[in-house]
């Protein structure tokens, strides 16, 4: 530790820290543009100047200067103030004065710091430099004349996203940030450069000229478009969600957000179900809530529980799934399933279906084996964590599955599960020698006839290489559906004598309740089955439905979600559901009253109490303790042997995975742009 005195305040910081970090530890704010604590240090904006005693007698950029014991730093001396003013004047020489028409206005670092260090007039009479805008694809809008060359976007794309597309070409006055040869940024994390850009050079293309930051109400929520559980902030004005930004959560998403989660929000305004519908004589007719309920009640009348079933979709909150489960129980049915893709997930023990190492734990791992997963497509933010670990060096990563560029180097070990029987001896040795090996099983490995055997084999492998110890749990299931772990925690799966999803289809039940379930072939539902679709988008499920109950999307209801790690998180209501649509648990509660099986909760708090009773994990909000493996016994094996059929990627098109993204024009533009790139072509 080094003792540093900053403006008379003595702080102790670890050796190797920068002076800027020491100043922050002392509570002194240092203005900066290029420095970002999650990126490498560039030291090229010169805004973070400080004065250091007994150092060279000049302003020193604090982000690049290492601390020394006994250092005395001044952050507000005349030399510092003059230095920063000079830097600001230089930055503003070429920066346009177009704040009134700039989307960054109101949340611009340059604007803010110009208040502190800018002059009230310009001494520069020459022409300002103008730079041609770049086309970086359908997500990021550029106004390159505003660029101050901090290079944050270049460093993010190269380091965190691992897709080195951006660079600074030419030099001096002619330096330009861009791709040189025009191309769309091929990263699923590209939207983050909008947040990183300290000026208005990179802004959101779909959000261009839509709103000013001070007009927006900002609500904390949880993203549901993948299973990472990224913490988000929903910015809304009136009834519309206008943008979605990441919130910092070191344990989950650091401060990143995947592109689909950020940009699919225009899908929340399209193809919405905003009133109940009832099918009469083969046609869907607008109906009132009471008519819709009456139609279902009439159909349910006289049916025994085994002729009724329910399927929960991928975006559901835990509250509504519990309400549906208990509604089904009151009707005598336990025909429940949440595994639309037919994944052979084993719900008998929690560590059989969660990402036990935790996302932050990836950074401790020293060997990783990916089985039937492409984390870059299935969980881009989690993939960035694997890449971060890989960049730290010295980690073998193996892949069984489709060859793709996952942004770090992997050793291709095979394509199908049969490889698990005879794993490449050299790689198996690396796993055995590793102190903290990780095995990550994707949905592509489980959603297939031999899925249960793959799960069991992966667990056996984890046990045999020492990945399951009292301190370290190296067995991980990577989910793609935000609702899945919560549903498994609730027991939204059939018991031994109940009907699974496959048995409910093909006429296995007479009434099938789809709670936002769109990700399966609805043609497999039997012709005579009466389908109730409760959800928010007119997608596959609604098209087949006999009764449509309009529900709320994730931004329109308070909801509890459990991410792939098993972390329970809560989102808040940002806007109200459109038209007659209602929060899903309220719909189920209201319907239960119609059929005389009133569910015993009138408020969401009462429902959440109930949730905690069903599974105590729901009481642990946000916080997730790390568990070791207490029991080495694995999930029950499956009589089906491991086949040599190659794994088929779980996600064919990253930009079209759920009703929200399928309704989004921005995501459609992304699909059109990126469908030609080899990576997507390979994934399909």
């Amino acid at each position: 530790m080094a003792k540093v005195t900053v403006d008379g305040i003595e702080v102790e910081v670890p050796n190797g820290s920068s002076v800027l970090q020491a100043c922050e530890a002392a509570g002194k704010e240092i203005p900066r543009f290029c420095y970002h604590d999650r990126l490498s240090i560039a030291g090229n904006c010169r805004m973070c100047l400080v004065e250091i005693e007994k150092a060279p007698p000049k302003p020193i950029s604090s982000c690049t200067y290492p601390v020394a014991d006994g250092m005395v730093v001044h952050t507000d001396s005349p030399m510092v103030r003059n230095g920063r003013r000079g830097v600001m004047e230089f930055l503003l020489i070429n920066h346009p004065l177009d704040c009134p028409i700039c989307d960054q206005g109101g949340e611009c670092d340059l604007q803010d710091q110009a208040m502190g260090y800018g002059m009230d007039h310009s001494r520069y009479a020459e022409n300002k430099r103008a730079v041609k805008d770049k086309n970086l694809g359908p997500l990021v809008k550029t106004v390159m004349t505003r660029c101050i060359h901090c290079t944050r976007c270049i460093r993010f794309i190269a380091e965190v996203a691992g897709v080195p597309d951006l660079g600074a070409t030419s030099r001096g006055e002619h330096m330009e940030v861009g791709t040189y040869v025009e191309k769309a940024l091929g990263s699923e994390l590209s939207g983050n450069i909008i947040d990183l850009c300290p000026v208005g050079a990179l802004t959101s293309k779909p959000y261009a000229f839509v709103a000013r930051p001070w007009e927006l109400t900002k609500i904390d929520s949880i993203d549901v478009l993948d299973a990472v559980g990224t913490n988000i902030r929903v910015d809304a004005r009136g009834p519309e969600v206008l943008r979605i930004l990441p919130r910092t959560n070191e344990d989950v998403n650091e401060e990143w957000l995947a592109d689909k989660s950020r940009f699919a929000l225009d899908g929340l305004r399209r193809r919405r179900l905003d009133r109940p519908w009832v099918r009469r004589d083969g046609k869907l007719i607008e109906a009132s809530w009471s008519e819709a309920f009456a139609a279902i009640a009439e159909k349910l009348h006289g049916l025994t529980g085994d002729r009724i079933g329910a399927i929960a979709g991928d975006l559901c909150d835990a509250e509504s799934m519990l309400a549906l489960k208990e509604l089904m129980a009151s009707l005598g049915s336990a025909n429940l399933d949440c595994r639309q893709d037919g994944a052979h997930l084993n719900a008998s023990r929690r560590d059989f279906y969660t990402f036990n190492t935790t996302i932050a734990g990836i950074e401790e791992a020293d060997a990783i084996l990916l089985i039937g997963t492409n984390p870059r497509r299935e969980a881009p933010v989690l993939n960035a964590r694997i890449r971060k670990r890989w960049l730290n060096g010295n980690i073998p990563i193996g892949l069984i599955g489709t060859e793709t560029d996952v942004t770090y180097r992997v050793q291709q070990l095979g394509h199908g599960p049969v490889v698990l029987n005879a794993l490449n001896e050299a790689f198996a040795g690396k796993l055995r020698n590793a102190k903290k090996p990780m095995i990550i099983v994707g949905q592509a490995a489980l959603a297939r006839p031999d899925g249960a055997a793959v799960l069991a084999a992966a667990w056996r492998l984890a046990a045999s290489v020492g990945a399951l110890t009292a301190e370290w749990h190296g067995f991980n299931v990577l989910h793609t559906a935000a609702a899945r772990v919560g549903a498994l925690d609730l027991g939204f799966v059939p018991g031994a004598n109940d009907k699974s999803m496959a048995q409910m289809l093909d006429g296995g039940v007479d009434v099938l309740w789809l709670l936002g379930a769109d990700e399966f072939d609805t043609a497999r539902i039997g012709d005579r089955t009466f389908v109730v679709y409760q959800g928010h988008h007119g997608d596959a499920g609604a098209a087949r439905a006999d009764v449509i109950l309009p529900g709320a999307a994730y931004t329109e209801k308070p909801g509890t979600y459990v991410n792939t790690e098993g972390r329970v998180q809560r989102g808040l209501l940002a806007v109200y559901p459109p038209g007659d649509a209602r929060e899903d648990w309220k719909i189920l509660r209201a319907f239960s009253e119609v059929i005389g099986h009133t569910l015993p909760y009138d408020t969401i708090d009462a429902l959440r109490k109930r949730l905690e009773l069903v599974n105590p994990v729901f009481a642990r909000i946000g916080f997730l303790p790390r568990f070791g493996a207490t029991d080495q016994a694995g999930p029950a094996g499956d009589p089906v042997a491991l086949s040599d059929t190659p794994f088929v990627p779980a996600i064919a098109d990253y930009y079209q995975t759920d009703p929200v993204s399928r309704a989004s024009p921005t995501m459609a533009a992304c699909t059109a742009t990126f469908a030609t790139t080899p990576l997507v072509a390979a994934a399909e």
Partner: protein
């Protein structure tokens, strides 16, 4: 949302850019020697000599020494670098020509010592002889390209022009005119001082140490 969200990016390539580039046998022969200068895993350091290789090969093959994008991509592939990292290097150094140039690249020094010694005359003579108006332009016949360069490090022989890889020194208006005429005829004179002095020795022979005798 906005209409712009619907437009797909179209690769921006000037029509003069060839779609492919492959090293010829002569370049291939030089590559192992270049790569051997750098430790294993540090082969990206070879990007500058590799780019020169591309530029020289283009001179051999097309008569115009320049680096096409396809050539930069090939260098990136050989050195296991991201293409953008090669673009950054190639655009940083103006010794790499990023578009086709004339057969003779006239790099005229106009920095202070050359300017004091009459580089304005040299520039005027170049303009008159080639018909080129602005900097960086190529003459209509495709023989000359004129570039203004900063100090070439030969101030004692100012003013000078670098033609492709050779220096022509001690120029004035007339000698520049003669030089360009010779070049146009395809008879490049011997590089060095056009006044015939030995490197930077005094004009007309030594002025000091004249009594010294060397046994030969």
């Amino acid at each position: 949302m906005g209409e712009s969200a619907q437009t797909n990016p179209v690769p921006m390539r000037d029509s003069f850019q060839p779609s492919t580039f492959a090293f010829d046998a002569e370049s291939e022969g030089a590559i192992p020697g270049i790569l051997a200068k750098y430790p294993a895993g540090r082969q990206a350091s070879a990007v500058l000599p590799m780019l020169y290789l591309v530029q020289n090969q283009m001179r051999r093959q097309t008569g115009s020494a320049w680096v096409p994008i396809a050539g930069m991509d090939e260098v990136a592939r050989r050195l296991d670098m991201a293409p953008i990292r090669v673009y950054e290097v190639a655009t940083f150094y103006f010794m790499f020509n990023l578009k086709p140039i004339g057969t003779y690249h006239l790099q005229v020094c106009t920095t202070t010592p050359c300017w004091l010694r009459g580089s304005d005359e040299v520039v005027a003579a170049c303009r008159a002889a080639t018909g080129i108006e602005g900097w960086g332009e190529t003459s209509g016949d495709g023989v000359f390209t004129m570039t203004e360069v900063e100090c070439l490090g030969a101030c004692v022989n100012a003013p000078i022009i670098q033609v492709n890889d050779d220096f022509y020194e001690d120029l004035d208006g007339d000698s520049t005119k003669q030089l360009l005429e010779a070049l146009r005829r395809g008879e490049p004179p011997k590089p060095g001082s056009v006044k015939g002095r030995q490197t930077s020795a005094p004009e007309g022979g030594p002025t000091t140490l004249t009594t010294l005798q060397f046994e030969s």
